[in-house]
Symmetry: C2
Subunit: 359 residues, 2 copies
Amino acid sequence: MSADGTKTRRQAGDGQRTGAAPPARVRTIKEIAAIANVSVATVSRALQRPEVVSEVTRQRIQEVVKRLGYTPNALARNLRTARTRLIVALLPDIANPFFSEVIRGIEQVAHESGYSVLLGETQSSLVREQAYADMIAARQADGIITMSHRVPKIPMPGRLPVVNACEYVKDKQISSVYVDNVAAAGAAVDYLVMLGHREIAFIAGPPSSPICVDRKQGYRLALQRAKLAVDPALMVSGDFSIEAGERAVELLLSQGQSFSAVFCSNDEMAIGAMRALSSHGLRVPEDVSVVGFDDIRFARYTSPALTTIAQPKNALGREAMAMLIELLADPEVPPRKRVLSADLVVRGSTAPPSPRKRK
Amino acid sequence: MSADGTKTRRQAGDGQRTGAAPPARVRTIKEIAAIANVSVATVSRALQRPEVVSEVTRQRIQEVVKRLGYTPNALARNLRTARTRLIVALLPDIANPFFSEVIRGIEQVAHESGYSVLLGETQSSLVREQAYADMIAARQADGIITMSHRVPKIPMPGRLPVVNACEYVKDKQISSVYVDNVAAAGAAVDYLVMLGHREIAFIAGPPSSPICVDRKQGYRLALQRAKLAVDPALMVSGDFSIEAGERAVELLLSQGQSFSAVFCSNDEMAIGAMRALSSHGLRVPEDVSVVGFDDIRFARYTSPALTTIAQPKNALGREAMAMLIELLADPEVPPRKRVLSADLVVRGSTAPPSPRKRK
DNA sequence: CCATTTCATGTAATCCATTACATTGCGCCG
DNA sequence: CGGCGCAATGTAATGGATTACATGAAATGG
């Protein structure tokens, strides 16, 4: 048996469908051990910690592994070792380009530490969030980074292996990374005020999300700083979609509200807002200035290019993953809320209000 | 022991960090069995096929399960049953909004059949593709839908549980769903010809991708149908990014090429192209018409709105997942290449060429 | 009333790898 | 030369579920 040649006869791809399935099978460590004439322990060691196996044995085993195309069954290994080196990143909507760069940051750090990232799109649905979160309890993944404002319930004792990114929850036990939304929104509105705007509309995000509440608060505070009235009629809510931005502006216009600037809680709503404005014959920025939030990739390519708040997307992702890795390594590390800063990027969609009142 | 009360004292959340970890542990089926006073087999049955367990026993078990917050260890289960009900969707770039809707289609069908979808972003990197593909060989997932033109090598006998979506490979053994790119690209160019354009530039995608070759071929054939010369100087390659579209147009303009229309292999390059054109003082569509491919969500919101080829994104995803499920259920089903059709959507970025020659 | 199903449940094998502990052989030291 | 330590390997327990098969009790039938 050990006298077999070095040539391998390949059976794969014999497209024949003659009733019986081809005899090729998935290999187990046992078979490798038998063929390499060692015990399963030695095979396992040769693969896991090659340095403890003698040179000659290791080579023999590796040759067999390669020849038979053996891949260890990760389920068995993970069951035994109780770690998967997999983390799940939950995001509400992969269509939202804001998350792309956050994900990229997550993956960079994950990769550096030997973790793989699996993405779960939740569509903000509780059941989907829960389904992915259950993968933790079921031990299919080691941890979760969630980009929503809900922390899924994981039936698990002690500290949950969960980190919140871009959002945050009240729960002090959950570590989060996010930006100072109050300050960032304030900066956007301060800028509009500085340009001379006095009637600034606001398109808010879903009120269930703390960061949206913060952005609204930042807007309010900035108005107060400028001694401007906070007019509830100029505040409309949307769901972060382009269409919501359009609808919001439609609503303001149909109500005959007067405003020379609109601050939107994200870039997509800003794009919708610009669209609605121009379809009503209002020019941006000459008639109405528009400011977004996030600085998604397309923000640079709208016409005019969008003035917006740039979130440190990559850093948010990197930091979130770093925190999660830290937490997985030591469940005792105290939770923390890390706040990054977000800066205003001025592009073409903002200008001083035109002297002649529109309409 | 069985006389314990029904009240549960919750220990979770006692934020104290007094040295020792809290005693709460993860439960196993054994503990549940012991507490419910049955064998592990009965617990397993009560959870898997409740109908074979007597009413009273089932209720007792369920009560214990609930009270202790027991979640079966999926690793153990999957190891035993050799299925995970997880599939991995590989996509080159989650920042590309084209894929979002495809994913959505995949998830819809997956969900209907009890599968969960995990997303793997590959950045078109072979090693990342391979890393995710290895999850199949390692039994961490049941199958893969890949949206690239490469089929990862999976060391596995017989038919690979892989379906190709939006792209296709030569390998006859791999099922694919995609659109007729030759016809779709042809339709776009036919339309430009019909408008009266005679000098139509083309921005190609990466030549390594079969669908890009097809789109270029569709462009060529349409020109030939119209008895127009195929001018290699009007064909530029890009990598699907907005920036690539900009660079392509910059290149054409810097070479002094004359063209009244540009057909781009995807919408993002079309957005870049429009941007570059207008930054050179050329108006779209008055001076140059632009056509994209994909019909991503933002295509409707560029100004002017982008004329493009609409791929049936949701259907591509649904069909791909349906094929994969079929394949997982029966590895003997013959592979097939399913071709859907893609239709031209006319918006504002196209118009007849202006009578006076530009420049 | 005994034999035969049927139902509910238990026992133990199994999935496949990791790893603690045991064993073997060898070189080195006193 | 006996004993010790070390290196290389083997044996077997282990992780947590599923499930084939066995068992016992109750129901059914003749």
